[in-house]
């Protein structure tokens, strides 16, 4: 049985007066892949960013309800947001490595946060992270090369390596494959299956096949509401809601 990583209770999220999420409750299990699907603007990215408080910087944004990470309310007063974001890493839609070397990209987080004591430790951590992101074999001969000279798929795996270098517990992925070609997409999906051995993964995707292929759990969002949330297999084979069925068969959305 998997332990509960995130537990969300009656989440409402507002941009100013606009309600982006309405009464969302769900649990996200550790070492599982949870996929969030739904049409554009349905609130799934907003939801994802509630999990590491990346919405905090948006003026007028406000959350009601409770978001528990390992049974601790991450929106409680006095929570160290910086530390929260180290525990809950994030990979973005477009690969966005820094214009630096491959090594420096992965070493960035550990350096800034002071996670290693010396060069050997840092090198070891960079290697482990690149191995973890299935990129090591492709870049080990030239860690000094500019990260932007890599292919887009490699860049995205580099961003994953950069994220896992600070030893997070959760990895949030916001449409991580939407800028990639099919082969690079399959590589990332394969990587996600490996990563779930160690991490809790939440992925937002537009691609329903992708959700069906990689995820263990699927949540279907529609107009800021969580319409359906269940094991991926049931959602795609025996959806309990008519709307879900219409969406995954292409009749709605």
């Amino acid at each position: 049985m998997h332990t509960i990583k995130f537990s969300l209770e009656h989440i409402y999220f507002y941009y100013g007066k606009y309600m982006a999420l309405s009464d969302i409750s769900m649990t996200i299990l550790d070492r599982q892949i949870t996929a969030l699907i739904g049409p554009s603007g349905c609130g799934k990215s907003t939801f994802l960013r509630c999990l590491n408080r990346m919405n905090d910087t948006i003026p007028g944004a406000r959350l009601e309800g409770r978001v528990l990470l390992d049974n601790q309310d991450i929106y409680a007063p006095g929570v160290d947001v910086v530390n929260l974001r180290r525990r809950v890493g994030m990979v973005f839609q477009r690969p966005n490595p820094f214009p630096q070397s491959v090594f420096d990209n992965v070493a960035f987080g550990p350096r800034v946060l002071g996670l290693t004591r010396n060069k050997d430790e840092l090198y070891w951590l960079v290697e482990q992270s690149l191995r973890g992101a299935a990129l090591w074999d492709e870049v080990k001969d030239n860690l000094k090369q500019d990260a932007l000279s890599l292919s887009l798929g490699q860049q995205q795996r580099l961003c994953i390596a950069r994220a896992i270098a600070v030893s997070p517990e959760v990895i949030l992925m916001d449409e991580p494959c939407s800028a990639l070609d099919p082969i690079a997409t399959l590589e990332i999906e394969e990587l996600m299956r490996q990563l779930k051995e160690q991490y809790c993964i939440v992925i937002v995707t537009h691609n329903m096949q992708q959700a069906a292929r990689v995820s263990d759990w699927t949540g279907f969002f529609w107009l800021g509401k969580l319409v359906e949330f269940d094991e991926t297999q049931s959602v795609f084979t025996r959806p309990s809601q008519k709307l879900t069925e219409d969406y995954i068969t292409g009749r709605a959305g």
Binding site: N52, M54, T57, P59, V82, N83, L84, R85, R86, R87, G89, M90, F92, R94, N96, F98, P99, F108, G109, R111, V112, L113, D146, L148, C159, R162, A163, V166
Partner: protein, 281 residues
């Protein structure tokens, strides 16, 4: 008239206007270089003025201009870059920050003689710095600030938002995003803005007229409370206030000032093009 001929005429007319833009610059530089070149001797560059400035060198004015530029940089760079970082990275969009931006834009348009008078009133008289390098540098720095702030803010804002977002997502703070990514990425743009601002400071006469410039002081400055000669003011003096001044000395002085300023300009362009080639976002 067929459109090929129209095209030709348009091409020639526009080419001519472009040429007319370049002509005055070529003429000014060429004329000054041709008339001033024979004044440039070792003594002219490294010697003190003699015989009512009609003979000898202009070393005190060269050193004065360099010292003033350096002092201006020391004051204006930390203030200007710091202010730009605040405006671009920390300040929210409120009426206050909008007012500050508006003020900066307007400051850039104030005539330099007004800065000179402000410097006289504020630094020379009110703060009792006297006619001094300190007062001159502060005046020049205030004049340079708007240029540096707006150039630096623009360079900082050009750094993609995603880089900042990534650092937050890794558990970094806003300051770390500035320190490790935003500032290094914006540095070429900031350097260019700083040099262009200092360039203006180095060539201005009006702001130093009342605050630091000495008419005739044939020695090097000894402290920041000393007066000093400076190239732009020296040029003004020998061209208007000294009867019987040999032409070639005037042109020579202009040439030295021109070379100094143009080489700074060239440096700015080199830095900009070097980094533009490397930048890929």
């Amino acid at each position: 008239m067929n459109r090929h001929i129209q095209q030709k005429i348009g091409f020639i007319l526009l080419g001519l206007t472009a040429l007319m833009v370049v002509m005055p610059i070529l003429f000014v530089v060429g004329h000054i270089a041709a008339s001033g070149a024979r004044a440039i001797t070792e003594e002219f560059i490294t010697g003190m003025p003699r015989n009512g400035m009609k003979e000898g060198g202009i070393l005190p004015a060269i050193v004065g201009t360099l010292v003033l530029t350096l002092g201006t940089a020391l004051v204006a760079i930390p203030l200007g870059v710091g202010g730009a970082i605040y405006l671009s990275e920390y300040a929210r969009d409120t009426w206050l920050t909008r007012t500050v931006r508006l003020a900066i834009i307007n400051l850039a348009g104030i005539p330099s003689v007004v800065y000179g008078l402000f410097g006289l009133g504020m630094f020379v008289l009110f703060l009792r710095f006297g006619t001094s390098i300190l007062a001159g540098c502060l005046t020049l720095a205030i004049m340079t600030l708007p240029v540096i702030v707006s150039a630096a803010e623009e360079a900082l804002r050009a750094v993609p938002v995603e880089f900042r977002t990534v650092i937050f997502s890794l558990g970094g703070t806003r300051w770390q995003s500035i320190r490790y990514i935003v500032l290094p990425q914006a540095l070429p743009g900031i350097i260019t803005g700083v040099i262009l601002g200092l360039l203006r400071a180095a060539g201005e006469t009006a702001p130093i007229l009342f605050t630091v410039a000495a008419f005739y002081l044939p020695r090097l400055p000894r402290s920041i409370f000393d007066e000093t000669m400076a190239l732009p003011y020296h040029l003004y003096v020998i061209s208007t206030h000294v009867p019987g001044m040999p032409m070639h000395i005037q042109y020579g002085t202009a040439l030295v000032l021109l070379v100094l300023v143009l080489s700074m300009n060239l440096l700015a362009s080199l830095i900009r093009s070097y980094y533009r080639k490397r930048r890929q976002w």
